[in-house]
Structures are given as structure tokens and as C-alpha cells.
């Protein structure tokens, strides 16, 4: 157990430092003059060479790659993301504000996805090939096929413009989160429905089920004690992957709906070449991924300890 945890921490450290180094190198070597982009974002005007040079010095861009990398990496080890190159303010408070918009939205879309897909998949798997099943499969295919940015615009058109039921842009009230959550939720619903449905169908084909049934165990108990745990294994896997798609979708959806969350934060930072901001989001995202993977690994070991034994 302790060895496993230690191994995990080591792997996480490799992933995190690799991600950090790669992002830094990519940003550093991206075409265009970062100092100019930062100065543009800061003063919002065309500027003389002197001003740009001054910005370059302030943002620490006038040194070579390795000194710049270490001067960024060392404070990062104590989770200090430094100050924004544009505003000069510390990154953390702004990052926390952005997260406070993003995480509730992410949770809401996961909740929408689970709330729709679980009953839908269970119903569909009850009788494969039935009308309900075919509808579920259709919903799943549609959800995968429709890109979030297009669906978001359609929802705005219907619920905000035509019906005027819900606000389209901004994040002032909870109602502002409904359309973005639905937009992201459909994608989540689609993949969860497919995976839960096929998970149940596959679990039902397990070779030991007929014998257990013949032992006199009720169908209800079989579903709960034998089918559900086997169906849960692929679902847990996809839950982790889904988080990746969700973070990706969040960037688009936040920009479409004008929400000042992590996605918007990231896009603005990239445009302004605000290195500390970009790095903060990337490292945070990597951290989320690593943590989620750890959780999933833990859940696996509870459901299926053979996975743990193979590692040992």
C-alpha cells in the first residue's frame, strides 16, 4: 500500500514536471514576440520599442530559456504561480475566482449527464433492441456527434433569444449556469449512456450468472450484487476519460457563454502570452488529472483487487 502510494507520488511528479516543462518550452518558443503581446494586453494600444523592451524586462523575458525556466519552476515547487505578466497581480486569487465559476459548472454537467444516462442506460439494457434501447442509442450517437459550440449556440437561440426563458451570457446568477451545463451535459450523457449500457450487457453475459441463478438467487439480487459491480468497471474508466473531455469542452463553452471561468482565463492568457497564467491553468489541469487517476485507481482496487495484485 505504502509502496503503491510512493510509486504514485513519483509518477505524479514526473507527469507534473513534464507537463510544466513542455508548456513552458512551447510558450517560450511560440512564434511572435511575447513582450509585444503582453504590452498590447496591458495598455491596449500600439507601443514604441522602448515600452516593449521595458515590458520584456519586467516579465523576465529578456533572459535565456534555462534561467527563465528555473526562475519560474523554483517558486512553483511551493505552489507559488507568481504574478500575472499583464496585470502584475498574484496569479492565485484570480485563479481561485476562475475556478469558482468552473468547478460548479463541471459538477453540474456531470450531474446532468449521470442523472439522464444512468436511468436511460438501465432501461435500454433491460431489453436490447427494443424501442427504448434504440432511442437511447440514438441519443448517445447524437450527443457524440454534435459539437458543444454548435449545441451551445442552438440552445442560446432557443431558450434565450426565442423563448427568453434563460439568460444567455455571463455568470451572475445560478440561472446563467443552466444552458452551459446542459450543453456540456449532453456530451457527458452520450458517452455515459453508451458505456453504462454496454457495461450492463457485457456483465450480464458473465459465465457464472446461470449457476448463481440456479442456486435460487433472485434476479434483483443478481443485478445488484453481480451485474452492477462488473458493469461498474468500464464506467469508472470512462468517468476518468470523460473528465478530460469535460475540461476541453469547458474552454469552448465558457467562451461561448461569456463565463469568466478557467477556460476564459486560459484563452485570454494565451492571447496575451501571460506565461504565469497559462502555466497555472496547465499545472492545475494536470494536477486534477493526476488526482482523478489516483481516485480511479483506488476505486479499481476496491472493485477488482486483482488489478492491485498484478502491480505488486
Amino acid at each position: 500500500m505504502i509502496m503503491g502510494l510512493l510509486g504514485f507520488v513519483l509518477r505524479a511528479a514526473v507527469v507534473l514536471s513534464g507537463t510544466a516543462a513542455l508548456t513552458f518550452a512551447l510558450l517560450w518558443n511560440a512564434p511572435g514576440d511575447p513582450a509585444q503581446a503582453i504590452a498590447m494586453a496591458r495598455f491596449d494600444a500600439l507601443l514604441t520599442e522602448d515600452v516593449i523592451d521595458q515590458v520584456r524586462a519586467e516579465a523576465g523575458l529578456d533572459i535565456s530559456f534555462w534561467p527563465a525556466f528555473t526562475s519560474w519552476l523554483v517558486p512553483l515547487l511551493s505552489l507559488d504561480f507568481g504574478n500575472s505578466a499583464v496585470t502584475g497581480r498574484p496569479v492565485w486569487p484570480d485563479l481561485v475566482t476562475a475556478m469558482s465559476y468552473t468547478f460548479p459548472l463541471a459538477l453540474a454537467s456531470l450531474a446532468v449527464g449521470l442523472a439522464v444516462s444512468l436511468p436511460l442506460a438501465v432501461l435500454a439494457a433491460k431489453r436490447p433492441g427494443s424501442l427504448v434501447d434504440r432511442c437511447a442509442v440514438a441519443v448517445a450517437s447524437l450527443g457524440v456527434a454534435i459539437p458543444a459550440y454548435w449545441l451551445g449556440l442552438l440552445l442560446i437561440l432557443l431558450f434565450a433569444v426565442k423563448l427568453a426563458w434563460l439568460p444567455a451570457m455571463g455568470a451572475r446568477t445560478a440561472a446563467h449556469a443552466i444552458l452551459p451545463a446542459l450543453t456540456l451535459g449532453l456530451g457527458v450523457t452520450a458517452s455515459f449512456t453508451r458505456i453504462i449500457r454496454s457495461g450492463i450487457l457485457e456483465a450480464r453475459g458473465q459465465p457464472f450468472l446461470p449457476a448463481i441463478r440456479r442456486r435460487g438467487v433472485s434476479d434483483r439480487a443478481i443485478g445488484r450484487d453481480h451485474v452492477a459491480p462488473h458493469a461498474a468497471i468500464p464506467v469508472v474508466t470512462v468517468f476518468g476519460l470523460e473528465l478530460a473531455f469535460l475540461l476541453e469542452g469547458l474552454v469552448l463553452v465558457e467562451v461561448i457563454f461569456g463565463r469568466p471561468g478557467l477556460g476564459t482565463f486560459l484563452v485570454q492568457a494565451i492571447l496575451a502570452r501571460d506565461f504565469p497564467h497559462v502555466q497555472a491553468v496547465v499545472v492545475l489541469t494536470a494536477l486534477i488529472f493526476v488526482t482523478v487517476n489516483l481516485l480511479i485507481d483506488g476505486i479499481y482496487r476496491v472493485i477488482e483487487p486483482r488489478i492491485g495484485e498484478r502491480d505488486a
Binding site: 457464472f208 446461470p210 449457476a211 448463481i212 442456486r215 477488482e304
Partner: protein, 227 residues
Amino acid sequence: MTLSVSGLSAVRSGRTILHPTSLVIAPGARIGLVGLSGSGKSTLGHALIDDLRAQGRSVAHVPQSPDEALDPLRSMAFHWQEAEHALGLTPGSADQRGLFAALNIEGGDLSKRPWSWSRGMQQRFVIAMALIGTPDLIVLDEPTSALDPVVAAATMDLLDRHLDGRETAMMLITHDLGLAARRVFQLMVMHDGQLVEQAPTDDILLRPQTRAAQALVAHRNWMALPC
């Protein structure tokens, strides 16, 4: 109490795989159901179990391999309690210690899942589980074909000894005439979904009447096998 069923049959995808069959099984009987692969032995076994269940009799079933009996995600203790619950017994009321001693698996750790037990022990656990509640009949479907010969022989010996003097009848489904010859008093020969011959074991081994029985006897050097 004597078990009897009549008119058991089965049809799969339009083909009759079990022609109407009737059976009578006396208490404590040891019956071997033999025949080639695909002759309908297991089908008859399943139909027999389902029919007797419908009559309200208690019948236990031991499939060929423990993989077909145990959920790899569930502990042995869970399987045991589930079996007790299915029989309407309160958890822990079955004579687990006695059955485990009878099948020589006292050392097994019940908190573990099936795959941390050896296959021989898993299969004996499944047999022990089948004997909870002292069933009227235990149907063993190729119970030893997933085991090596020595473990298989030991398992059958333990089961024999446990059933000795009890009311529980045993039906051994096997294509292995050698196994059946040593364990049962009466043989039933299946061929093409039909029960073609039924007689005391020695009679069939020495004087097989039908072609199916003759073929089985001729192609098996049954005396030389360890079980």
C-alpha cells in the same frame, strides 16, 4: 423421498435437443449420466433441475468449472451467505465447519475472492455450497474435468464419503465413463438428445445393449483411470 419427472424436453432454434424424457430417482441414488459431447446431457441436467425446483424440491447444481459458479469480484464468504439466503436460511446457520471438514477446505480464507484459492479448492467450495441445506439431489456437471486427476479423485472421494448414508441423491454428468464407473451404481446413456439406455453400472460396462453405449464402452479404457 423419490424424485420423479416426466416429459422433460428442450428445443433450441427449432431443433429438438432433448426429446421427451422421464426419470425416477430414488433417495440416496448414485446415477451417472453419460454420453458424447453434445448428446444433451447438460440440457437434461438443467431441465431436471428446473422441473424439480418447480415441484418444490431442493436441487443443487455444481457446474463444470468454478469459473461458472463463482463471481471473481465477490468474496467466498459473500457466496456462502448468498447461497444460505437463497435457501431461506439465516446467515451462519448452515453447518459450514462440517461441510468444510468433509471436503477438506478448512484452511481456506473466506474473506478472499475465488481466484486466491486454488481451483481444486474452489471446486470443493462450490460442492460444499451445493450441500448447504441437504438437497434432495445434487447434480454435478463434469465436476472434475477442470481439475488434475489426483485432485479430481480426492474431491470425488470426499463427496462420496459425505453422501454415504444420506438421503441426498447424486447425478454425475460426464463424458468420462471411467469416472462414472467408479462413482455411481446406475448409468444412463444419452445419445442425440435421447435417453437410450439405463441400467446398473456393471451391466452397461460388461453388456452394453445400444450402439451408443457400446461405442462409449469400447472407446474407454476405464479401468486404468485414477478416478
